[in-house]
């Protein structure tokens, strides 16, 4: 297993929106082992409060040396991360979990909502590298333009076309990503890779079920360890019982989960 516990140096901190930040971290080990959809567990403080690490998707890697995480400040851990300084070191575990399993030569659609867009950038970039002929269809949603436009810009920089939707209509379509999906025609072979708030993933799953498209979703749960040890991060599965988001996922075949997940 290529997992590492690293003191990674923060080489860059960018504030993309009022409460959205992107950190660039130096770790050749993690950067070169990472797969799209995998995540890292980050210690947000040297103190014992908050105690536990926080999970973040790997949002991008570069030069096999750096990787990025993109996050929104929602509580104390993310607030501490936002107050870090360049040059400081963060303790990071990773890369963890199972990423997206995609057929790079098939038609692909990436659907992201909010911070769920983070792992899709990594996935989109990988798709472009692995298959020059075909570009994935990208559908991104967020609350408003301020939050969405810096993320859309990243995809555009890769040369990808983005279909956007915002809750308030300030960028792209006024509404949900599923409203956008309904207006696109997908080939039957199209495979969906989805990450975002659970209600959104549920909606996309049902859209895919109807259209009989393959659909993978990346699940977010509370996590204490990130490596299959605490059994805290469960999601109910179709066949009964639970799977563990950190070690069986976080990316699951949507059909194997027991919807609706709360």
């Amino acid at each position: 297993m290529s997992q590492f516990q690293e003191k990674t140096e923060i080489t860059r901190i960018e504030r993309l929106a009022v409460d959205i930040y992107r950190l660039t971290l130096l770790s050749p080990e993690i950067a070169s082992a990472a797969q799209p959809g995998q995540f890292v567990m980050v210690r947000t403080t040297n103190s014992k409060d908050p105690l536990l690490r926080r999970p973040f998707s790997i949002c991008q890697t570069s030069s096999g040396k750096y990787f990025q995480i993109l996050f929104k400040v929602v509580g104390r851990g993310t607030s501490l991360l936002a107050h870090c300084r360049e040059g400081e070191f963060l303790s990071v575990l990773g890369p963890l979990g199972n990423g997206f399993q995609v057929d790079y030569n098939s038609a692909n659609c990436l659907v992201g909502g909010g911070m769920g867009i983070a792992p899709l950038l990594f996935l989109g970039k990988t798709m472009l590298r692995k298959c020059k002929e075909q570009q994935p269809i990208v559908v991104l949603g967020a609350r408003n333009k301020d939050e969405l436009s810096p993320l859309v810009a990243d995809f555009k920089e890769l040369g990808l076309l983005v279909h956007a939707a915002t809750d308030d209509g300030s960028l792209g379509r006024h509404g949900l990503v599923t409203d956008v999906l309904k207006n696109i025609s997908f080939g039957t072979e199209c495979q969906f890779s989805v990450c975002g708030p659970t209600p959104m993933m549920r909606a996309v799953h049902f859209f895919c079920k109807e259209g009989e498209y393959a659909c993978q979703v990346s699940m977010e749960t509370a996590m204490a360890c990130g490596m299959g040890a605490c059994l805290g991060c469960i999601v109910p599965v179709e066949k009964g019982g639970y799977a563990h988001a950190c070690s069986d996922g976080p990316v699951f075949n949507a059909k194997e989960l027991l919807w609706p997940i709360q």
Binding site: L51, A222, A229, C230, C233
Partner: protein, 309 residues
């Protein structure tokens, strides 16, 4: 690193010889293999695996865990594969890990404890059994075995009768006087006691007005509980003559020393494994340096060496 080998860190838990006093606590170290990327497992004193019941258990619905101030609550609900699959699947993979494996067991009746122990008897690679008695006794309306001396001693006796390896009884801290329970299980034949299991706690989200874990109440662990654990280890060490294994909020070698000074022969690291997966190995390294720097003949010199005012 080579130096580490020279410091005498060995301790004995009954007939069980450990190369050092640092174990990992049940439910916080998976089946050990999860930690291979971070820890040289064979450098640990022992690993204690997740609690095993007679039948497989799916565990509690989510959410199962929540962070609290300097701690966490869990209500995993004892999810496990059951003793038979544990033996055929997990123990097999644990065999190549060159570290003593202690199996933590639980049940909701004395018969169940007895039956699990029977099935584990003679299984290769099991160095000892740790009996979790914080579980509810279904026949007594759900009162935890570990809170009533008679029940604690009945479980101990049953497991002791069937076991071919040392039996460690893991005590619940949710009692008025833990020394009474400790004495009861010692008398019933326990080869050692380990303490503490989690304190019972609760967390509420005032916005949704709901408990933060689906099971409503859960077990509190982590640095928050260390003072309570240390006090109980100290108290129990005064009254029993079997070895005491200290558990609760331990992360560093300094924490280990505190528990040993209070009377513990060995310790277990729990929640800290989540925060720093290398915690257990780093504690061993720290103890080795300590023994050398202090020029101790053995780490055993620290056990119970607390100086009272």
């Amino acid at each position: 690193m080579a130096d580490t080998i020279k410091a005498d860190l060995s301790v004995s838990i009954g007939s069980l010889k450990l190369k050092n006093p640092v174990m990992t606590a049940s439910g916080t170290f998976g089946y050990a293999r999860e930690f291979e990327p971070y820890v040289n497992l064979h450098r640990l004193g022992a690993v204690v695996v997740k609690g095993i019941s007679l039948e497989p258990r799916a565990g509690n619905p989510p959410p199962r865990i929540v962070e609290t101030s300097c701690g966490m609550l869990n209500a995993i609900g004892l999810e496990n594969v059951g003793v038979d699959r544990f033996i055929t699947e997990k123990m097999v993979s644990l065999q190549d890990v060159k570290v003593p494996v202690l199996v933590n067991i639980l049940g909701d009746s004395i018969d169940e404890y007895r039956e699990i122990t029977k099935r584990l008897a003679g299984v290769a690679g099991i160095a000892g059994i740790e009996v979790n008695i914080s579980c509810p006794n279904v026949k007594k309306g759900g009162v935890a075995f570990g809170t009533v001396p008679e029940m604690a001693s009945a479980v101990t006796r049953a497991v002791r009768e069937e076991s071919t390896v040392p039996v460690i009884v893991k005590l619940s801290p949710n009692v008025s006087d833990i020394t009474v329970i400790a004495k009861a299980v010692e008398e019933a034949g326990a080869d050692a006691v380990s303490l503490i299991n989690t304190l019972i706690g609760m967390a509420i989200d005032h916005k949704s007005r709901r408990p933060k874990i689906a099971n409503v109440i859960g077990g509190l662990s982590g640095p928050a509980i260390k003072p309570v654990a240390l006090r109980m280890v100290y108290q129990v060490s005064q009254v029993v003559s079997i070895p005491v294994i200290g558990i609760g909020g331990i992360e560093t070698y300094e924490d280990v020393l505190e528990f040993m000074l209070a009377g513990a022969t060995a310790v277990q690291i729990g929640t800290a494994n989540f925060v720093n997966p290398r915690a257990s190995e780093e504690a061993v390294e720290g103890l080795a340096c300590y023994v050398k720097e202090q020029k101790l003949r053995s780490i055993r010199d620290v056990i119970g060496a607390l100086i009272l005012p």
